[in-house]
């Protein structure tokens, strides 16, 4: 699997994280790297429903490649969003379809964030991403 540079970097640091505390610190650091979303884009149309916190996801396609922006009011979820975007951003529709995102989060040691009972919203974000990029 060839990874984008930022994703490779994320994998390196998360793989070395010892314990939940360090993972949490890393998540918050990565969350701060998430580029901000314009206030106008934090609108109802971009809201991801099914999360306990507020989450917005924007998907745009240029030259056949998908680019995403995301925001949340919860810090740890911002970190998860950042890790999602470094993996998915810039891929084509068919690359996205083949991308195994649960495996990506599991590789980062964050697989539990995708368990069905979690209401943190990562599952909802993945569903929304698939919906937005479906058929493209």
């Amino acid at each position: 699997m060839s990874l984008p540079d930022a994703a490779r970097e994320a994998l390196d640091v998360f793989e070395q994280a010892a314990g939940w505390e360090q993972r949490a610190r890393l998540l918050m650091q990565w969350g701060e790297r998430l580029p901000p979303l314009d206030a106008t884009q934090q609108c109802e149309a971009n809201r991801v429903h099914g999360c306990e916190s507020q989450v917005w996801l924007v998907a745009e396609q240029t030259d056949g490649r998908w680019h995403f922006k995301a925001a949340s009011d919860a810090r740890l979820l911002r970190g998860l969003l950042a890790l999602l975007l470094v993996r998915a951003d810039g891929l084509t529709g068919s690359q996205l379809q083949q991308l195994d995102l649960p495996a990506w989060f599991t590789a980062l040691g964050l697989g539990r964030q995708l368990s069905p009972s979690r209401s943190n919203g990562l599952n909802a974000v993945l569903r929304r991403m698939a919906q937005l990029t479906d058929g493209a």
Partner: protein, 401 residues
């Protein structure tokens, strides 16, 4: 000082959870089960399951006997005059929907239904949807700052047009006892039927439905240390007689023809289809277990843990407790910290608490919040559980602030 729970060992799941490094503080959502219940379930399934009220054969007779014995136990637990006033449903939600459909025929446009501002969705949405179907007015009884229904306002709002009053006994978010007695008395004087959602209240202390004088009382088995998939509806005899049948099928029918049928009275007329037989038998076992405990010790134990919980939360800077909880639970938020972040880090540390809107979205929103963390207690919790929670909370807040 360590406060042990003398009943902890009666609940095998607590030890199992502890081995998985989990501290269970979400009993207001559902409780762990006593060994006594597990034995009863195992006995029923290993000795011969059978359907109830149908077969003349021996297994059927034994199952029916055990099933009806549970009805007696539930009636005794609530001090209902007669076991025939106890209807088994598939949950408290199902019981409340039964009421909303069963009473629909009595209501016409312009009539009012009163519910409080703190209702769980299960005691809000069935009435809200009924109001929409029939053009009724849904009146919301406001709360005071402590989290009790504002009695003065409520007595004004419940008037001659009020046909149904549906209120919680104990709030699942605020942990506050509601002023049931004056509300129920007033509702009766106004000619309104009263529905008490006892889902949380029934778990703490014993409640006498005859003394309360409510028309209907609803609770769910799984919050009362019983099996899930089972709710209980108590009805005053005359009130039960007002209900129209709502679900149709096996065993609720008296005479069935292709075009016309007639139906049984309560309770069987409202128990269409095969009921959750094992769960009913299991609830009986849970009630036997609970009845064997010293009720005063249980109440004192829970009260002491609750004081400990409130003290610990109040000691921490920036913690805001919702309302003024009286027992069983406390919901809180922390200034400058998103409750989803806090929930995430408590989960990482094996603390099982509930985060979010607690199925009371309008209430949580009216407090200006989009969620909160709820810690809830049961008789098997001990002070170590709370200490583990507090140390996890401190760790989480240190990371987040």
């Amino acid at each position: 000082m360590f406060q042990p729970s003398p009943w902890r060992a009666d609940f095998p799941a607590i030890a199992a959870l502890q081995r998985q490094h989990q501290t269970y503080l979400d009993s207001a959502a559902t409780t762990q089960k006593p060994q006594h219940l597990l034995d009863a379930l195992s006995h029923y399934y290993t000795q011969g399951a059978a359907n109830v009220h149908r077969a003349q054969h021996l297994p059927g007779a034994l199952a029916t006997q055990a099933f009806e014995a549970s009805r007696e136990k539930v009636a005794a637990w609530l001090n209902a005059a007669d076991a025939q006033q106890i209807v088994f449903t598939h949950g408290a939600t199902s019981a409340l929907n039964l009421l909303a459909y069963g009473l629909e025929w009595r209501l016409e446009a312009g009539d009012e239904i009163a519910v409080s501002a703190l209702e769980h969705h299960a005691n809000l949405l069935p009435w809200q949807q009924l109001a929409q179907r029939r053009g009724l007015r849904l009146v919301i009884l406001p709360l005071d700052a402590n989290g009790h229904i504002d009695l003065e306002a409520a007595l004004q709002l419940i008037g001659p047009r009020t046909r149904v009053l549906a209120v919680s006994q104990l709030s699942n978010v605020l942990g506050t006892w509601q002023p049931l007695q004056p509300l129920l008395d007033h509702a009766r004087a106004q000619g309104a039927l009263s529905v008490v959602d006892g889902a949380q209240g029934v778990v703490h202390g014993r409640h006498d439905v005859q003394q309360l004088g409510c028309d209907f009382y609803v609770f769910s088995s799984h919050k009362l240390y019983g099996p899930d998939g089972l709710g209980v509806l108590y009805g005053r005899r005359e009130a039960l007689g007002l209900l129209r049948h709502w679900q149709f099928g096996g065993e609720m029918v008296q005479l069935a023809g292709y075009q016309q049928s007639s139906f049984r009275a309560a309770p069987l007329g409202f128990e269409a289809g095969t009921p959750p037989i094992a769960s009913v038998i299991g609830l009986g076992a849970s009630l036997d277990y609970l009845a064997s405990l010293d009720a005063t010790s249980v109440v004192e134990h829970e009260a002491a843990l609750h004081r400990h919980l409130l003290r610990g939360l109040n000691d921490r800077e920036g913690v805001r407790i919702l309302g003024v909880p009286q027992l069983a639970l406390a919901s809180f938020v922390v200034e400058g910290v998103h409750n989803a972040d806090l929930a995430h880090l408590l989960t990482e540390q094996g603390i099982a608490v509930r985060a979010g809107h607690h199925c009371a979205m309008p209430l949580v929103n009216s407090l200006g919040l989009d969620g909160a963390i709820r810690v809830s207690l049961a008789l098997y919790n001990d002070s170590h559980d709370l200490e583990r929670f507090f140390s996890a909370l401190d760790q989480a807040l240190e990371l987040l602030r």
